[in-house]
Symmetry: D2
Subunit: 284 residues, 4 copies
């Protein structure tokens, strides 16, 4: 044998779970796409094909559905905490369990008579997300959102950057700012967290800042958005933001005898700028 | 030469156009993905590589941007009418021009101070669509939407279908109904159409019916939705609906000693049912 | 009721079928993605939710698997002929059945000891395709391929096209030609067709022509490729080709003090040219 | 200010580079999709919108093209080493530069006259990959491949796994094994590496083992494949493999009065098993 195992992980991906909670006055709907990964000592399965320490990935999937029936499901974080605990409690040879969840954002259909009792619209694009990683000594919960698309038609500039022989970009005073935001945040350990309330507050704060910010660059707006999430959510101790810069390029109309009054653009998807940062709460 | 040309079409696909109209009190934003296809006699380019009757696809793209600067852009239908007319007017050897447009649905960010002046959210999933086909003698406009996702957790049954030796599906009294709707409609020729008003009315009527319908099958609900679009939009003479049946399958929990009280489902994307129909206005 | 039904179609999409035929000396593998669509009189299901004339789409799926067990499966065309016949024979109210198939192109792994008995590689990108449509009076078979990507680094020019005020493209003597080919062909009715042999011959002829052609435009090469398919396949009476022009744009290096010796390009996916034609066999 | 910056990264993603090297007897073609990420002190751009330490992402893109013109491009690893060095040499405030590359696998068209001089086929599915990360003190190169799809119709079993109340899967003696392999390997520092030769040897060894292995589980085959890569490539000190288990589920035909002789399957894409491991060379 030339090799030894430095790390062993396996599990089930793309487990799709829908739970409907049928209250008298309304139905609640949660749809999740889950990934469950287990780490531990499964060496004999790798080295010798002896599977006696392997929880079959089919069993992992079944367990998710059974636990979804046993437990209230209002947010992915609490459910992922249950699922990770289950696998560690059952299997002493498993050292960590990680559950990653992406939640489809169905919205109640609004009618003149108000929000509908049991009918929903949407379910594409932006998702709510979380990752729970539990070891024998620790558990971390990362909450967030992915694929939130935002665009502003003004109040965005980019000036005064480094110029070298490879620089052809001009300073821009008034450009379109289009982005796709992924954000992940970590709340302070040991506090009871209302996951959905934090999510709503953080998301709302970031959107508001994006809309109103006088942006001098993607970095500038990204920081202001993350700072606002920390401001409005004392539960959050750390937030990571990842924003694309999905360029809208002004079309050159001069060769056609026309002037482009900052009106006509081509949206591009390749290449795109990508700006990230991790923000932590300033020590008091 | 073994072959002769029975049909010749070419053009430019995936032309992305963004137009910002900068009113004092608010900015309007239209983002379209366009396809332009020209049909006519370009034989020499195919047979001999002689391109003197070919409008380069790069020129087609440039023309779209120039015409977008020259014309107000509030909906895709009116713009596609302009673009198709341009190519026929310029080129006597072109017999038809077709423009297909898909519009990204950006929505104004809502803040406590009302709809934002220049910031938008969304832009994924459902799209507004149109296809304009213009020949020397005729022009047809098809409007519509694609990728509207809807789900209801009850008021959906499916019973009494054909049973043969390949039938294993049970009658269902109360199932989840999840769908992705594509709809295309054609308005009466010769009437001045408010394209956006018709779109809002048709879309709203179909959503309302979906939400409230006591469905006895996808066909049943599809017809009711299309009928409602015709009811609320006298301009429409014909509507085609295409709805997927994106099954949510109840998970069998009995082997795990649990009962599934119509609560736990797995969403599936393959295979899916697909139901279509064309509805025309009943002659008076 | 405002509406009447002008057309009714439904069926099952994305039915995935794998069949392994276990010969002593080798295993054969066919993987298909199928869509089955039925047209006929199902009015009562649309109008009243009465499903007694509806073959459930779940039954349609089951039927596909049962028929796949009953019949040899070496190509999609012959199987689709069986499936379409089944639904018409069983249901007098069905007027047409259409089966569309896309075949994953798994290739045997080649080892120093020759083609492997039961192990395969590939299965992405290009697909073999067919559509069989059977009515009470007729059956049409369309065969083809989709997603065949080809690129040549030279022997491609584009010159002498129409110039107007929207034209900025220069004549090109030596450009990269990158394309994605979709082709569909129809064989002469009443002849026994070896579907796979025709496919291999048509595909090979089109690839050979692409590689060697002195292209004066996409139209020019497309015609030569289709002509070659007709030349090598007397069974084919009509072929439709659809080719993208996936531009590789030479990067301007002059601002950086460098010359681009036709070497450095950016591949673009939007916008793209799209060239189509239908070629028919010249009458003798 | 509530927040401070714990980490700052930005750069350009989806930079598409094509380089054609025009030898007299043949043209070589390399197509890459690149991501460049810079880490360092850009605080003022985040905190104050002062961009004087920001290399614009547009300049990053331009630099890639200029360096591609200046340097031979035969593999992504050597090019990424040049690009990362450039950004660190130019900018003392940058602490690390990371280049990730995915290479499209175009293959020469084979004709009866041999490999074609300048025409290629393919370019979808599997990709060759690398990531180069350079800091002020260190450089790491990770090579690999992604999206290699493999399938074997026999010689795959899965037995003797853990059974609990959530286990419904039966032992399997003869199942289909379909997978998508991602592999990343790291070569010993300080040795001059022939990146392409290592890639060919590692890839070939893994494919051969997959084809011939008597698999007792995905873990079992994964380890054997990784071990073979280490065996045939002394340059590699560590390899990470990630394999999906893309289930082909035998269709139950008994309800339809038929037997499934291990022949008829449904391919599923959700959920899928996912098996990973890191293998390191055993100390001598």
């Amino acid at each position: 044998m030339t090799a030894h195992l430095a790390r062993q992980i396996y599990g089930k991906s793309s487990v799709r779970l829908t739970k409907v909670t049928r209250h008298a006055e309304r139905h609640d709907l949660v749809e999740l796409l889950l990934e469950i990964a287990l780490e531990g000592d499964f060496s004999e399965s790798y080295l010798a094909g002896d599977n006696q320490r392997v929880v079959a990935t089919d069993t992992i999937k079944n367990t998710v559905y059974a636990l979804a029936a046993d437990n209230e499901l209002t947010n992915a974080e609490d459910f992922a905490l249950v699922v990770t605990a289950h696998f560690l409690n059952r299997n002493s040879h498993i050292t960590s369990a990680t559950v990653t969840a992406a939640q489809t954002l169905w919205q109640r259909i609004m009618s003149p008579r108000g929000p509908h009792r049991h009918s929903f619209i949407g379910g594409e694009g932006e998702q709510r997300a979380c990752t729970v990683c539990r070891t024998r000594s620790d558990v971390t919960v990362e909450s967030g959102l992915s694929g939130l698309r935002l665009l502003k038609t003004t109040d965005s500039a980019f000036r005064g950057f480094i110029r070298d022989e490879f620089t052809t970009l001009s300073d821009a005073d008034d450009r379109i700012f289009a982005t796709r935001l992924d954000a992940r945040w970590k709340c302070t350990v040991g506090v009871a967290i209302e996951w959905s309330a934090v999510y709503e507050r953080a998301r709302g704060a970031m959107i508001d800042v994006f809309a109103d910010h006088k942006s001098l660059g993607v970095q500038h707006t990204l920081f202001a958005m993350g700072n606002a999430a920390l401001d409005t959510c004392p539960e959050i101790e750390r937030i990571e933001l990842d924003m694309s810069n999905e360029h809208r390029i002004a079309v050159t109309l001069e060769p056609f005898g026309r002037r482009n009054a900052n009106e006509i653009f081509v949206a591009t998807s390749e290449p795109f700028g990508r700006i990230s940062a991790v923000l932590e709460r300033e020590a008091q």
